[in-house]
Symmetry: C2
Subunit: 322 residues, 2 copies
């Protein structure tokens, strides 16, 4: 191993960071609780601590630092614009970190949304290896995306690209957190899956989940697990969520003609979304564009957050001229 980058995954609950080689294998790793309640400066100080620890452990030069975070980011300036799970607004992470770590970090620190980190992780080390045109989709509490076009991460005119969670599929459908109705996120996310199942149980549908439901509110994870055990209602709810997702992704397929769509996130685990997504894409997108795309589960495991963040640094080191 001749060099590392550091990948740091910033979440509302914990900070995870690791030294990652150019082969994508995480080496030494540290994890800290985020402790949001202590304020942004304390969180940044804790991030700096992780980075100092990793540097101290490194047996090779650390070329760059990639930070993946939930929410909206300004990747040009290294700012978290708005992250509801961090309760942050306009926090200039790159500048604040460089004040603690040294100004030489400024030009080799990259901050981006976690789905952009994930698409690069999957492209460099995961299921979409080497692809020039790919979309990463996460299905969990929300539905989000990150995309690579012509071999490069794509942000759009105002860093708003790949915001696929709010494609409106059903204008009269269920209310979404964004204020519109029938967004993909209101139809295919974890909360949507839990809500749909709960409504069906309230209407008297048969299900293995009836006892659980009598005891406590259902989670999407309950539904995924019941579907994997063959519960008919849960299978049907997952199928419906996957079909809506596939219909939304069919728009992506005809607009951007990708080689890979990689599906990750908590709700995608178990693979129940894959078949309905593939079916809906082939039903709704053009045949030639459908033939060009492979829909695959995410290839990176539990370390995907730090690996993706490190991939952000490797990708930028490849595309940035100093």
């Amino acid at each position: 191993m001749c060099a590392y980058t550091i990948g740091l995954d910033l979440g509302g609950t914990k900070i995870a960071a690791a030294l990652v080689g150019e082969d994508g294998v995480p080496g030494f790793k540290v994890t800290e609780l985020t402790h949001l309640e202590q304020g942004a400066d304390a969180v940044i100080e804790r991030m700096a601590g992780c980075i100092r620890d990793l540097q101290a452990q490194s047996d090779a030069p650390v070329l760059g630092l990639g930070i993946g975070t939930a929410g909206m980011t300004d990747s040009v300036n290294g700012v978290v614009i708005m992250a509801s799970n961090l309760k942050w607004k306009n926090v200039p992470v790159r500048r604040l970190l460089a004040e603690k770590l040294g100004q030489d970090w400024l030009e080799r620190t990259w901050v981006d949304k976690d789905t952009n980190a994930a698409v690069l992780g999957e492209r460099l080390y995961g299921a979409g290896r080497g692809s020039r045109h790919m979309l990463y989709v996460t299905v969990g509490t929300g539905v989000g995306g990150g995309m690579v076009l012509d071999g490069k991460l794509y942000h759009g005119a105002s860093q708003g690209a790949s915001d696929i969670g709010h494609l409106v599929m059903l204008p009269e459908g269920p209310l979404c957190g964004c204020g519109k109705r029938g967004c993909l996120e209101a139809l295919s996310s974890g909360p949507a899956i839990a809500r749909t199942t709960t409504e069906a149980l309230e209407s008297g549908a048969e299900s293995q989940l009836r006892l659980t439901f009598a005891a406590r509110p259902l989670s999407a994870q309950d539904v995924v697990e019941a579907a994997l055990r063959g519960d008919a209602l849960s299978c049907q709810v997952m199928e419906q969520a996957g079909t809506w997702l596939g219909r939304g992704l069919a728009y992506y397929v005809d607009i951007n003609n990708p080689e890979f769509i990689i599906i990750g996130g908590g709700i995608a685990a178990g693979g129940l979304l894959l078949e309905p997504v593939r079916r809906a894409i082939s039903q709704f997108a053009l045949p030639a564009n459908t033939a060009a795309v492979q829909v695959l589960p995410a290839g990176l495991g539990p370390d995907s957050g730090v690996i993706g963040a490190a991939a952000l640094a490797w990708h930028q080191l490849e595309h940035t001229s100093f």
Copy 2:
């Protein structure tokens, strides 16, 4: 003027070609009938004749040749894959032309679909000047698109990108030429506008078009003109076509976060689609992405075909290293 490219617009009825300077102003121009019935080789010979004429007239070096054509193209190999209005399948235009004009043309001839030529024309010389992220949409007999992302023409994994005419908006809607139902093209194109108006008249709707309709089948142009004169039914049909188009473009806006959407084509002339498109985008796309995009009418006039084709050559000369 120190150099030209040649832009050639290949249509089912006519071939138009012109010397175009780097400022986008067409100089000497030639037009020929296509005479498809004589076969592809005769058409290619006629194209070569146009190019020889322009070269003979040129007072400066001709650096490259851009060819814009309807249908699907393989821009890497310079092949028209399928063009229904030319009745061509897999015609290797670049190679056949170089056999007639000289092998030195091979590496400076670019063939692409006309909407890709148009987006570059609008970007270099038209309504989207200097933009890094833009979509050109044509609304005429069909609905098609061409896109520039991060400053470069984008083709996708199999040259199928920007095929926005077949986004399925209404799965139970009117049948589209592609075999699916409720595609954008089946809701917003010229034939869709003529069909919707005809159906309304058959159901007894009031309209200035009743006399025309009694005499002959309505064209979309009749509807556009009546709407511009204030005919209520025609205004309503145009509004509906524009709203569907805007709903489809809202998907584009949230996926690719463009700076400009430029609307051209016969049905867009008169500007009746602009307001409903803008309204639908702001209703359906995310506020930040809506704020980032300007929806404008095409800026190039009747010479847009040859100017766009020449822009294809200028764009490629800028991005190709020899």
